[in-house]
């Protein structure tokens, strides 16, 4: 099926629900639980569509995120990510298609979904005059916890997201990154099994990002399902097991992603002797014009991992001193750019 999404209506039923796995790291893909009818956890989205009047924000989104994994949600600005997130968060009804969060339908079993769902929105709203501690304990009480349990949970979360020093300050004095951490803590208040994180890393310093990554991986290892939307693809690369690519309201098909993985992508090669490296590359049959120079490094387009391994072996064999040999862009970024450019054709 060619990847052409020119007209509505969305192709019904032709896009099967696929979990796109642009596998990034070895740690990925934990024991995938059998998706039986009995234990249908995680997120299952099938042919979901939603429009606002004339604007078709989401046309045909389908994917599965299984418990114990971190799934990235990527796509250009205005591709419908936030609308999809809002539907998953039980705030917006889909016009068509079905959603299952931890086995429940957000439209008909809203309370069941909400008790299993943590949502960290991209808008950082907080009650400005309340302290960090009160914000969390009020949120806990909104999940029907009693006052004592709520206070205990608030203390736990404050330690978890490292806001201990600011626990009794009003939230309006928090910086963006601190608010981000508060927002994450709020999403975790009721220990949900499914987490939707919308741009969780924006505004965080490198140390806090490291903490976030560790926390996200830990939550996944506890068997939770995480869907993370982010623009910082390199970062998503580090924490996600797979990704859902959304463009113009349509999730990319498995074929499109497979094709994207096979397309040529730039590799970055660094050597102390650039001249010799260039000569060796030409000798390998790469056209002089196809070799780009980026400061002291050379960039060449290679199709697939196999081609890269072969080239590296031959360069080393030819006695070239190689200090760096790596993809110039991360896997997700490559898919993102490739699919975006395919889209615009």
């Amino acid at each position: 099926m060619p990847l052409e999404r020119t007209v509505l209506p969305a192709p019904s039923g032709s896009v099967s629900s696929v979990m796109l796995s642009i596998m990034t790291s070895v740690e990925a893909a934990p024991i995938e639980p059998e998706r039986s009818e009995l234990a249908p956890g995680g997120i299952v989205v099938e042919n979901v569509a939603r429009s606002f009047g004339e604007v078709h924000a989401v046309r045909d989104a389908s994917f599965v995120a299984t418990p114990g994994t971190v799934t990235g949600l990527i796509g250009p600005n205005g591709s419908g990510k936030t609308t999809l997130m809002l539907m998953l968060a039980s705030l917006l009804q889909p016009d068509a298609g079905s959603i299952r969060i931890a086995g429940h339908d957000p439209v008909t079993e809203t309370a069941a979904v909400r008790s299993q769902l943590g949502w960290m929105p991209d808008v950082l709203g907080s009650w400005p005059t309340l302290s960090v501690r009160d914000t969390l304990s009020y949120t806990a009480r909104m999940y029907a916890m009693d006052k004592a349990a709520a206070a205990a949970r608030a203390s736990e979360l404050i330690a978890l997201v490292d806001l201990t020093e600011l626990a009794d300050s009003p939230t309006r004095v928090l910086s963006r990154g601190q608010k981000q951490r508060l927002s994450l803590a709020r999403a975790l208040v009721h220990d949900p099994s499914v987490l939707l994180l919308d741009e969780p890393a924006s505004g965080l310093d490198p140390v806090a990002r490291g903490h976030l990554r560790t926390l996200v991986r830990r939550l996944a290892s506890e068997g939770k399902t995480l869907l993370v939307s982010s623009h910082v693809l390199s970062e998503l690369d580090e924490m996600a097991d797979g990704a859902v690519y959304l463009s113009k309201g349509v999730t990319a098909s498995a074929e499109a992603l497979a094709r994207s993985r096979a397309t040529a992508r730039p590799w970055r090669i660094r050597s102390s002797d650039v001249v010799a490296l260039r000569a060796a590359l030409v000798a390998e049959g790469i056209e002089e014009a196809a070799i780009a120079t980026d400061r002291t490094e050379l960039l060449v387009a290679l199709e697939g991992e196999a081609a890269a391994s072969t080239l590296l072996a031959r360069l080393v064999g030819a006695g070239i001193a190689i200090s760096t040999f790596a993809p110039a862009v991360g896997d997700l970024e490559h898919a993102f750019i490739d699919l975006s450019s395919e889209e615009s054709k």
Partner: protein, 353 residues
């Protein structure tokens, strides 16, 4: 049911906590108390001049109650008119809605919070009301009924504000519209009543026949041919419903009236009540005046006593209060429908998060 109110309690406590922590709210309350103090002192001096020691203070009481109603209805829209869309702007509405708090709990909690905040103004005025009530030797029924109705009216304004804040997407707009609703009820009803009554006039006919000759006893023996004279009379009786929806009228009308020996009301509320109740009585569609007809020269009917007017007419406060409660309930229900999640429809340009 108790689970529902537990959720309402969380929202209520959260809302009150946020409001009570702001200094501006205390300043507002302070200004309010200072104004009431001034009004009470000045009125006590002014009404003392009339000599009647009790009516003066009864007047003070009525005026202070009206003053609390005036200021309360001026402050309540600002306190309630951005309850829901303000949260949406601040990004705290959606994070509440993804919790187990239902839309009903959210709206009821916000309404109660706005109401309680407005009631704080009534509570702050209580010392002055107690003073005026004691000085005016008012019956307990007057005090209880007036305070209850005042509290209900503040609740209506709070509900209108919360309701509109759920129906409209921009906080500034919903606050202004809440003020317009208050203005429509307080002033608009009077304008509608007056203009409506004057515009819909009916023609009444007066037939007059004057005596031409008299006998020795001075009784008329021959009269002129009856002259017909047509004139327009306003139909205020068709529009009393408009006046009934006025919060000031509701307040005056609800208070049980005490009468003096001439069946006239003894306090200010009673006189307001009398004048609005009279509007319910249709004007005579005409009358005839014939000096030769025995007794017709005394045809002008006696003005009925205040007591009989009040007792024979519909208690309009019940009608008015019912209108207000329906309005408040409808707006809250509308806000509920508009705020409900998962949302099926979004108003143009509004963002759910």
């Amino acid at each position: 049911m108790s689970a529902f109110f537990a959720g309402v309690g969380v929202i209520l406590s959260l809302e009150l906590r946020q409001r009570v922590r702001t200094t501006s709210w205390y300043i507002l309350l302070g200004v309010f108390v200072a104004l009431i103090l001034m009004v009470t002192v000045l009125l006590s001096f002014a009404l003392n001049g009339f000599g009647t020691d009790d009516n003066g203070a009864a007047g003070v009481y009525s005026t202070v109650i009206y003053f609390v109603l005036l200021l309360g209805t001026l402050v309540a829209p600002a306190l309630s008119g951005n309850a829901i869309n303000g949260d949406r702007d601040a990004g705290t509405l959606a994070t509440t809605q993804v919790t187990l708090i239902t839309t009903g709990q959210l709206i009821v909690g916000k309404f109660l919070s706005a109401w309680i905040t407005a009631l704080a103004f009534l509570v702050a005025a209580i010392p002055f009301l107690v003073y005026a009530a004691i000085a005016g030797r008012l019956p307990a029924s007057t005090i209880v009924v007036s305070i209850v109705v005042l509290a209900l009216e503040l609740g209506v304004v709070a509900a209108v504000g919360v309701g509109l804040s759920g129906l409209m997407s921009r906080p500034l707009f919903s606050i202004v519209v809440t003020y317009l609703v208050v203005a429509a009820l307080s002033i608009g009803t009077i304008i509608a009543f007056t203009l409506g009554g004057l515009a819909l006039q009916t023609t009444a006919t007066q037939t007059s026949s004057y005596a031409l000759e008299y006998d020795s006893a001075g009784a008329p023996t021959a009269c002129s041919a009856p002259e017909e004279y047509e004139y327009q009379t306003p139909r205020f009786d068709l529009f009393w419903g408009a006046l009934a929806a006025n919060p000031y009228v509701i307040l005056a009308d609800a208070v049980p009236t005490a009468y003096d020996s001439n069946d006239q009301p003894t306090d200010l509320f009673g006189y307001f009540k009398l004048s609005t109740r009279m509007a319910q009585i249709p004007q005579d569609a005409g009358y005839s005046y014939g000096e030769c007809v025995v007794g017709e020269s005394e045809q002008y009917p006696d003005a009925p006593s205040a007591r009989s007017v009040i007792e024979s007419t519909t208690p309009s406060w019940a009608v008015g209060l019912a209108i207000h409660l329906v309005l408040a309930g409808a707006l809250l229900a509308g806000a509920w429908a508009r705020t409900k999640t998962p949302a099926a429809k979004l108003s143009r340009g509004s963002r759910i998060a």
